[in-house]
């Protein structure tokens, strides 16, 4: 049995850990509210953008001359994966879940004999992927210094992706991120952004005849790059809300576990203290008896 002193030290160390996790939980909760708000506020933009693009792409008659960002290169050889993770740890399964999803996809691509290229956004993803897929990572981006998610960061990522596409460095681009459902549930998502998935129907459209100025394809070719940035921005917003949510529940668990541990240790501490007292008493009594 550990000595009284050791127990005391352990109790106080667990208690101070508990304080930290509790504080982190509070901070995450406050940040979560903000992140959730901005995720919700960002939704109209990406939804509208999506809707307009769907309307436009349905109106395009000449599929063969459609912009490459929409129709793809017609090949399926090189896949680019943008894996979006957080820059900080201690957020439960948040990063691991994305990585797991991404790795499954990577494996599939490699098994099919296709080429794989990876861009990591956020340093945690890079840390987890570099050992196995280090050679496939062509770019690593991190926004450690910016406090809140902003559109210009997303635009930077978008520009890199588009530049690489124009240089014909890849055929298909997929992004991985966590979708925020609620504090406990975040769903890892894979979303193909190039070529654009237009199979879903635009809401309340089709019968509408739009006037376009300038021509449809010109609008489309201007709009599509913007849409890439918008989708990435949306993913970043969802991700940041998910990260905070995940961290909050992880820290909540940690605090509770620490509490349980303190209880157990305290009982053990009291027992051994009592045992020591009893032992001393027995010694005194048996000493007195023998006289």
């Amino acid at each position: 049995m550990a000595s009284l002193d050791d127990l005391k030290k352990r109790i106080s160390s667990v208690k101070s850990t508990q304080k930290i996790t509790k504080a982190m939980k509070m901070v995450a909760a406050a940040k979560l509210r903000r992140a959730q708000e901005s995720a919700e506020k960002g939704r109209p933009y990406s939804d509208k953008m999506n809707n307009i693009i769907l309307n436009l792409s349905n109106g395009i008659s000449d599929i063969e001359n459609a912009p490459k960002l929409l129709s793809g290169t017609g090949e399926d050889k090189v896949h680019l994966c943008v894996v979006m993770t957080s820059d900080r740890g201690l957020c439960g399964g948040f990063n691991t879940n994305i990585i797991k999803k991404a790795k499954l996809y990577f494996q599939k691509i490699i098994d099919e004999g296709k080429n794989l290229k990876i861009i990591t956004v956020g340093s945690k993803g890079y840390d987890q992927l570099k050992r196995v897929y280090g050679d496939n990572i062509i770019e690593r981006i991190s926004f450690k210094d910016t406090k809140n998610v902003n559109y210009f960061d997303a635009e930077k990522v978008g520009k890199i992706v588009i530049e690489k596409f124009e240089k014909k460095e890849f055929d298909i681009c997929t992004i991985f991120y966590n979708q925020f459902k609620n504090v406990i549930t975040q769903i890892p998502q894979e979303q193909q952004i190039i070529p654009l998935n237009t199979s879903e129907k635009a809401e309340n459209s089709l019968e509408d005849n739009y006037e376009f100025e300038p021509e449809e394809d010109e609008i489309l070719s201007n709009l599509l790059p913007k849409n890439i940035s918008t989708q990435i921005f949306k993913a970043m917003l969802e991700n940041s809300a998910s990260e905070q949510g995940s961290r909050m529940s992880a820290m909540d668990n940690a605090t509770r576990n620490a509490g349980e541990m303190v209880d157990k240790l305290t009982i053990e501490y009291n027992r051994s203290r009592q045992a020591a007292i009893t032992k001393e008493l027995i010694e005194i009594i048996s000493g007195a008896e023998s006289l």
Binding site: P44, Y45, L56, Y151, E213, K226
Partner: protein, 130 residues
């Protein structure tokens, strides 16, 4: 019949402005300014840097936009833009800052004609504000 319709301006961060009593909106479309009145035909167009003017019952408002796309349908005008600034409480420093980066971008010789045209436009508008 009243002659008003609704307009919504959204930027990536939030819904910037929403009004349902506007009589006319003038937007700097790519091929020239368009004024949109009620019952305009459905239109999709994109914007060059310029000034959006919104006339409503409560008065006139102007905004600077960097770029954007508009969609008008069923008397609903949606304007999507990545950067929008209200001219009423404009920040001169910010404008000068944008102006400076634009001038630098213009010096870049690798840009194509369309980009150059857009940047020229931007500079002109920014100068007129300042």
């Amino acid at each position: 019949m009243s002659e008003v319709y609704s307009v919504e301006i959204v930027n990536p961060e939030k819904s910037f402005l929403s009004k349902d009593d506007v009589t006319e909106v003038v937007v700097p479309a790519f091929e020239g300014e368009i004024g949109i009145l009620k019952d305009h035909i459905s239109i999709i167009s994109f914007l060059k840097p310029g000034i959006i003017k919104i006339f409503s019952k409560s008065g006139e408002e102007s905004f600077y936009v960097n770029d954007g796309i508009i969609e008008f349908k069923n008397n609903n005008l949606s304007i999507l833009t990545s950067l929008i600034l209200s001219l009423k409480d404009i920040d001169k420093e910010k404008i000068s800052e944008i102006q400076k980066t634009t001038e630098e971008e213009l010096k870049n010789t690798e840009i194509n004609d369309q980009e150059k045209y857009l940047l020229d436009q931007k500079l002109e508008v920014l100068k007129s504000i300042n």
